[in-house]
Symmetry: C2
Subunit: 589 residues, 2 copies
C-alpha cells in the first residue's frame, strides 16, 4: 500500500504541480507524452517492488563482507541492478541516438525516487554510475565515450566518484593523489582514496573510478586538480577487459546505515602501474566534478526526501490502527481507546512529517524541471533563467531534505513508540540510512557557505531576484493567512539580503559567513513554504474539499504556524554578524 | 581522557554549582563531607572505566541472544554489575542502618552518571533495580522488605518495572493483566507484559518483577490498577529460591540501540501458577509506580545528558586534531590546513553540544539536590518547597535531555563527518542509544501533558511561582546581556501563564493541551538557560578569565542568541490555542 502512495505522490508532483505535460510540446521531447511517462513511473514502481524492496532489510542486517578476497553482497543486489539497467533506467535521460530513452530529467528523477525509497543502498550503485556517465557524456572525448559509455549504460560496468582522501574530505584543496604523464598520453596514478561508495564489489565486470588527482607540478589548491578515468581492470578501446589496473581495496568501512552500499578505502598504484585517462583539460577537474556534484546533490536531497516520505507513510498506517488513550476532553475508561492519530500531539508529528517530506520532494522535483528547462527549453531566455535558479536552489535541495528528512524519520519513530525503535518496523532503518545525507556530497555546512558565500551574493544578488520574481508569480493575488505569513518571511529575507550585500561589499564576508548555516536554515524554510503553497494550490485545483487538498492545506498551515516564525530570529543572527561562534576559542570548551 | 573530563564535569556541578558541601551540615548526613563524596565519585570513575566501558561496544554489536533456552549476554556484563553492587552502589542512598551507605542522592546520581556514560545499556540493570528497591523501601511491608531488599541490594536479584502491555504503552488505563486473590493472601497473576527492560537474563539468581495488574472486580481505568511483586522464581521468606514462578519469556525484542539491555515480552501464569505479593493498598498501584517513575524519569534525563556529554567530548577531541580547510578570510592553499575547531560553523556545533549536554546534566543534578532537600533538609518549609519544585521540573528533566541529547549526538556525528557515521568512533552508538530516551518512561508527549495539564496549572500556578522566585533569587542583580535575554524569556512565560490559567479556568484546557509539546519545549529552553547562567556564574567565581569560565559563558551566550528566540513563537502557539493540529482529520494526510 505504501509504495502505491509513494507513486501517487510522485505523479501528483510531476503532473499536477509541475505540469510536466507541457514538456511534450518542446521539440526535444517530440513524440513523448504523459501516457508514456506514466508507464515509465509504472515500470519503476514494479521494479522497485519486485527487485529493490525485497532485500532492503537483509542488506542492512548483513552488510557487505569479504570472502576469499572478494567483496560479497547479499543475494538480490546484482539482479536488481541488472533489472534496472535492462529496463533502460541507466540511460533513461540520454538521447535516443546515444542509446538512451530520451526522457525528461524530471521523469527520470521521479522514477528514480521510487528506487531510493525502496532501497536507498542498492539504488546508490546506479545513482553513482548515472552521474558519472552524465559527466563523461558532457566532458569526455569521443574515444572515452565509446570506450566506457555503452558499458556504463548496460550496467556491465558500474562507476564511483573518487574525490575524498583520508586527510581531505570537505577540504578538497589538499588532495594528494598524484598523476604522472606516460608516453602514450595516459597517466600513472598513485594515492589513497577514502569514503568511496561502491568502490569494491562483484556486481559488475569492472568498476570505473572517476578520480581527482594532481598532475605532477600542478599548482597548489583547487586550481591544480584534474579528473581521471581509472578502471579497476584495464578497459580496451572495444570495451573488453585487460589486466588488473592496481586499484586495490584497502578496507571496507562499516557504517551506521546505508549499509548495503560498500564504503571503501582504495589504494591506487601501490603494487604496480595504475593507469588512467585525463578527462577534459588538465587542472579543471573540480569544475567537471561539480557539474556532476550539483546533480548528485539534488539526488541526495531526493533520496532524503523519499526516506522521509516512506517513514511518514509507515507512521500514518500505524497511527490509524494503533488504539491508545482517550480524547483530551473525555477520558472515560469505559469507552474504548481511540486510534492515536486522533490525538493532537500525534497529528502535530504527522503534519510535520508531511510538510518536511512532501516539501522536500517537491523542491527536488522542481529542481529536476529546472534541469530540463535549462537544457531543453526552446526559449533561450528561459534556459538561462532556469540555470540561474537551479544553481541557487541546489544547496537548499541538498540540505533541507537531508536536515529535515531525518527529523521526519525521528518523528516516525516517535509515532510508533517502542515499536518504532525496534527492527521489526522499517522506520529505524530509514532514520539510520538518512543520517548519511547531511554528510556526503558536501556537508550541510559546506552547502551553507556555497549558498551565502557564492550563489546568493555574487552578481549583486541577481539569482535571488530571479527567485523572488518566480515566487511572486506563483503566489500573486493569493491572500490566505498562511500565504501572508510566507510573503512576510520572504520580505524579511529581502531585508536581510540588503544588509548582507552591503556587508559583503564592505569586506565583511567572513563575519557574515560565521552564521551561514543559520541563513541556510532560514532560506530553506522559506523555500519549502513556497513549494508547499504551490503544492496546496495544485491539489485544490481539482476541488478544495477533497481529503488530499485539505491535507496539503493543513501541512502548509502547520509549516506556516510552527516553522516560519523561526525565520526572523535566524536572519537576525546573520544580519548582526553574531560573534558568539567566531569569538569562541575552542580551547575554552 | 574523556572519562576524566566527565568526572571533572560531575564534580563541578556537585561542588561548585550545587554546593553539595552544605549538605554535610544537615543532621541526616552527619559525619560525611566533600572528601568522602569525592572518593565515591573516584570509585565510580574507576569502576566505570574498568568494568563498564570495556564491553560497551561489543554488547551493542552482539545483542543478547538465546542459547539452550537461556538468555545470554556478552562477557563482562555480569562482572560489571557484581563490581557495582560490591562497591555498595546498589544501596548507596539507603540509610546505613538499612545496609546502605547513607549518601546524599545528589552524590549517588553524580556517581551513577559516570556508569551511564560508560555503558548505558549495562547501567540499565542496576538503574531499574535501584528504582524498584526505593519503591519497595517506601511502600512495601516489613516482611516484603526483609524478603527482597537485601538481595536487590547485593545484586543477587535484579528487578524490572513491568507496566506496559502489547495494547497498553502510554495508555496504562487499558492494562489487562489480572490478579486473583489466593487463600494465603498472595495473588495469582495472568497476562502479557511487553517492553520489559531486563525482563530476562542470566545476570542474577532471579529477577523480581514489579507488575501493574488489575485485581478481579477492580474499577476500570487507572483507579483500578494495583502493584505486585512477582519474582521469576519463587522467593522464600529467608530469600532462598523455590520453584519457577511461571514468568516466561515470550521473545526478545531487537532494538536500534540500547542493545545490551534485554527488552522482552513476558507471559505471566500461562503454563502454571504465577504468584505475586500485593504491594501497599489495592488499586493504588499507579501512585506507587509514579513515585518510582518520577525518579526514573530524572534518571532517563541524566542518561541522555551523559550520552550527549560523552559525544561532545569525543567531538572536541576530534575537532582539535583534525586539520581541514583554511580560515574564511585567508584561503591560501600554501598554508597548512587548520584544525577544524577553528571554523565558525564547527564552533557553533560544539557550542550547541556544550549547552545541551551541560545544561541537561546540570538540571538533572539540580533535581537530585531537590530530592535530598525534600527528604532530608532540616527545615520543613524547605522540604515542602523542594518537593513542589521537583514535581514541576521532573517532566523537563526527562524531556529536555532526551530531546536535545540526541541533537547533541547528531551534531557530534556531523563534527566527525564520515568518520562519525562509522562504527570506528563511538558517536553513532551514542546517537542510537540516546534515541530510546524520548520514548521510554513516558514519551515526551506524555511529559508535555503532565507539565501543562497537571503540574503547572494546578493550585492556581503555585509551583510555577515557587520556581520563578528561585530563578529570581539566583539571577538577582545580574545584568549581562544574555541574562537580560533570559529574564525576558521568563517574563514571556509569565504572560503565557496568565493566559493559560484563564483558559484552563474557562474550561478550555483541551484546546490549550493541543499544543502542550510546544509549551514544554519553550519552558524547557528557559529552564536550561537558567541552569546555564547559574553554571556560568559558578565557574566565574574562581576567576572570569579561566578557559573553563569563558567556555561556560560562551555556551550561555550561544544558547541565549540561538535558542531563546524560539521561546516566544512557541508560546504564541499555545496562547492562541493554535488549531492546526486539532482541526486536522488524519484521513486527510
Amino acid at each position: 500500500m505504501t509504495i502505491a502512495r509513494r507513486r501517487a505522490e510522485i505523479e501528483f508532483h510531476l503532473f499536477d504541480v509541475l505540469g510536466i505535460d507541457e514538456v511534450s510540446r518542446w521539440p526535444a521531447f517530440d513524440g513523448q507524452d504523459g501516457t508514456a511517462w506514466r508507464s515509465v513511473i509504472d515500470t519503476a514502481e514494479q521494479l522497485a517492488l519486485s527487485h529493490f524492496a525485497p532485500h532492503n532489510r537483509e542488506a542492512d542486517h548483513r552488510e557487505p563482507w569479504i570472502e576469499n578476497g572478494k567483496v560479497r553482497t547479499v543475494d538480490g543486489v546484482k539482479e536488481a541492478i541488472a533489472a534496472f539497467a535492462e529496463a533502460g533506467f541507466m540511460n533513461a535521460h540520454r538521447p535516443v541516438d546515444e542509446g538512451g530513452l530520451g526522457l525528461p530529467w524530471t521523469v527520470v528523477q521521479g522514477a528514480f525516487a521510487l528506487f531510493q525509497a525502496a532501497n536507498i543502498a542498492t539504488a546508490a550503485y546506479p545513482f553513482l554510475t548515472i552521474a558519472a556517465a552524465n559527466m563523461l557524456s558532457a566532458f569526455g572525448t569521443e574515444a572515452q565515450k565509446v570506450r566506457f559509455l555503452p558499458h556504463l549504460g548496460s550496467g556491465r560496468f558500474l562507476a564511483t566518484m573518487a574525490l575524498s582522501e583520508p586527510q581531505a574530505g570537505s577540504g578538497l584543496a589538499d588532495i594528494r593523489t598524484r598523476a604522472r604523464p606516460l608516453e602514450d598520453g595516459s597517466y600513472a596514478l598513485t594515492g589513497t582514496k577514502q569514503w568511496i561508495s561502491g568502490g569494491a564489489h562483484a556486481l559488475s565486470d569492472t568498476i570505473v573510478h572517476f578520480v581527482l588527482a594532481r598532475i605532477e607540478g600542478a599548482p597548489a589548491g583547487v586550481k591544480g586538480i584534474s579528473l581521471f578515468i581509472v578502471p579497476r581492470d584495464w578497459v580496451e578501446a572495444d570495451g573488453s577487459l585487460g589486466a588488473f589496473n592496481n586499484v586495490a581495496l584497502v578496507s571496507l568501512l562499516h557504517k551506521m546505515g546505508y549499509r548495503g552500499t560498500t564504503s571503501t578505502i582504495l589504494n591506487l598504484g601501490e603494487a604496480g602501474l595504475c593507469r588512467g585517462f585525463l578527462m577534459g583539460e588538465a587542472h579543471r577537474g573540480l569544475d567537471y566534478m561539480f557539474k556532476m556534484m550539483n546533480e548528485a546533490r539534488i539526488g541526495v536531497g531526493l533520496g532524503a526526501a523519499m526516506l522521509a516520505l516512506a517513514g511518514f507513510h509507515c507512521a500514518l498506517d500505524y497511527c490509524a490502527t494503533r488504539r491508545q488513550g482517550r480524547p483530551l476532553g473525555d477520558r472515560n475508561p469505559d469507552q474504548p481507546p481511540v486510534p492515536i492519530d486522533q490525538h493532537p500531539d500525534v497529528k502535530h508529528m504527522l503534519l510535520a512529517q508531511k510538510a518536511y517530506a512532501e516539501g522536500s520532494l517537491g523542491l527536488c522535483l522542481y529542481c529536476a524541471t529546472l534541469v530540463d528547462r535549462q537544457q531543453r527549453h526552446p526559449d533561450p531566455a528561459t534556459r538561462q533563467r532556469s540555470g540561474v535558479l537551479l544553481d541557487l536552489l541546489t544547496p537548499v535541495a541538498k540540505s533541507f531534505p537531508s536536515a529535515y528528512g531525518p527529523k521526519a524519520n525521528d518523528l516516525a519513530i516517535q509515532c510508533l513508540g517502542g515499536y518504532g525503535y525496534t527492527r521489526d518496523f522499517p522506520v529505524e532503518q530509514y532514520y539510520r540510512d538518512n543520517r548519511l545525507n547531511p554528510i556526503h556530497e558536501g556537508t550541510n555546512g559546506i552547502q551553507a557557505l556555497d549558498l551565502l558565500g557564492r550563489k546568493l551574493t555574487r552578481d549583486g544578488g541577481d539569482a535571488y531576484r530571479a527567485l523572488r520574481a518566480t515566487i511572486h508569480a506563483d503566489l500573486d493575488g493569493r491572500s490566505e493567512p498562511e500565504i501572508d505569513e510566507l510573503i512576510r518571511a520572504w520580505r524579511r529575507i529581502d531585508d536581510a539580503m540588503t544588509v548582507l550585500l552591503v556587508s559583503f561589499s564592505a569586506g565583511r564576508a567572513a563575519d557574515c559567513l560565521a552564521n551561514a548555516s543559520a541563513f541556510l536554515d532560514a532560506f530553506g524554510l522559506a523555500v519549502i513554504a513556497w513549494r508547499l503553497a504551490v503544492q496546496a494550490h495544485a491539489a485544490e485545483r481539482s476541488g478544495k474539499d477533497s481529503a488530499a487538498a485539505r491535507g496539503r492545506r493543513q501541512a502548509l498551515k502547520w509549516f506556516a504556524a510552527v516553522e516560519l516564525p523561526r525565520v526572523a530570529p535566524l536572519l537576525a543572527l546573520v544580519e548582526r554578524c553574531d560573534p558568539v561562534a567566531a569569538e569562541t576559542d575552542a580551547a575554552w570548551l
